[in-house]
Amino acid sequence: MGAAHRGRLKVFIGMAAGVGKTYRMLEEGHLEQGGGRDVAVGYMEPHRRPETAAMAVGLEMVPRRRVVYRDTVLEEMDLPLLLARAPELALVDELAHSNAPGLEHEKRYEDVRDVLAAGIDVFSTVNVQHLESLNDQVAELTGTRVRETIPDAVLGEAAEVVLIDLTPEALIERLRAGKVYPGESVGAALENFFTVEKLLALREVALRQVAQQVEAKRLVVEEPLGTRGERVAAEVPQAVGERLLALVRPQPSSQRLVRRAWRSAQRLGTGLDLLWVKPPAEAIEGEVGRQVTALRHLASVLGADFLIEESDDLVAGVTRVVRERGITYIMVGESSPPRGLARLREPLPQRLMRATPPGVDVRIVAHRGHREERGG
């Protein structure tokens, strides 16, 4: 694959089948062709949808190859033929598709990488539940698990990701009109997968995914910046992509803090880290060990990361983690009233504000007991 330049990948992503990804890909293929580019369809899955098939008319189809697998004839994209044809732009449907055994690659996205390496631009399509990192989440939301997945990095390689958005009601209407599946399958689809609740959840996941994609691209800083002013300016974009850190201790009262932090993380659609800054002398055994296990378990249930940073200096330990993990938001539990010489020390939130990078917010979560005592 000795092309002088690598092809450009554009991915049309949707919340579910039937939103119009393939249709839009073909439509844009026509526009490119109309603009004078050499366009060919490497693979298209019409799904017996007349509108989609009609949109493909006028575009050159690279013939598919037939593969016999367990006495069944399967039709697959002919990668060698597409590479030999070498159009400027190839339209390749179903990025997450698994190829029949015996072909060049196991997965279609690997075929697409070969096409891009040959200097051919590619338009492709994928549904959000096929992304590896979202597979579990979507399966839990919808009760349906897809087996064909692609690594998230594949989407990261795309120069452009286009979200094909449709309201759940409009998609269900399309389904009822027989525009997505043939008549006999519509009833089952409506009962199982295509409910308004599930589609709303999927739509949210798809919107967040594309937003994160845009943000990830925006946050790439190509050269290190020198002066403090430049470094502060460089941190400004990071404030858009939130990441929460909850400071916990191995004790039951931390559970409430974790719940609060998780709900905030959910609302912001961002990741959550739980951090215990462990004094070196503190052993993880007995009741402390039990509480650490409980926190680790809770983190796993919530999809959060539980970190233990060993340090005698709480603020220094937190600051290290904040810098390493790009934290923008710290949540701390309300401290007990200070006693003795501790009264003279600056409160933890202020010390954190001073030590952490600019733009990091600190929020104090009130202790339930204290609030009750105050009558709140």
Binding site: E140, T144, Q255, R263, V288, V301, P338, R339, L341, R368
Partner: protein
């Protein structure tokens, strides 16, 4: 000479007192807030509501015995998902319930140490929790209508297997009163 000795003694005393205060302010809170081994009462539940009688009974017991109450939301993870996967949708159901129970518990001076446990079924989740933690008592509402989610078989299984005293609460005439997700958290 004696005045000099008295001065040294005063300086030593002042030094010792200062050292004590520094040590107390630096390490004292850790000792006082370090969790102690405590008696535990388990209150397992499923769904988005739990019988208020069960919660109140568990809280009364916990307060009387100076025990920690462990409300545990049991989540059944479908076989299509790994058992140890994150379950945000289930967690979103559990959170307001745990918050509501904690609110009631704290109001009565009871320490609450909540859990969310995964399993292939409610019984499996309960078995995993019983294996991981030790309990002195288990309080189970037998009111399926209140969202308990335990079948008669589950209760028999619990009686046979739980290494703790099991208190099964018979449905009462006023068991339509529930602690539900609606009584939970305020937006944070």
């Amino acid at each position: 000479m004696s005045a000099e000795r008295a001065g040294i003694a005063v300086a030593l005393l002042a030094g010792l007192a200062g050292g004590y205060l520094i040590a107390r302010s630096r390490f004292g809170w850790r000792r006082s807030e370090r969790p102690q081994r405590i008696h535990q009462i388990l209150l397992p539940f499923t769904g988005t509501a739990i019988s208020r009688r069960a919660v109140d009974a568990a809280l009364r017991l916990a307060r009387a015995e100076d025990a920690t109450l462990m409300p545990a939301y049991l989540a059944a993870v479908p076989k299509s998902l790994p058992l140890e996967c994150a379950i945000p949708a289930e967690a979103a159901k559990a959170m307001p319930m745990l918050e509501a129970i904690e609110q009631r518990g704290t109001g009565q001076g009871v320490t609450i140490d909540s859990r969310i446990e995964r399993g292939r079924s409610y019984r499996h989740a309960l078995a995993r929790l019983l294996a991981r933690e030790s309990f002195d008592r288990v309080v189970v509402p037998a009111t399926a209508g209140a969202g308990a989610g335990f079948s008669g078989d589950d209760l028999v299984w619990l009686l046979e297997r739980a290494p703790a005293e099991v208190l099964i609460l018979r449905p009462g005439p006023r068991d339509e009163s529930v602690v539900s997700a609606g009584a939970g958290d305020r937006p944070g």
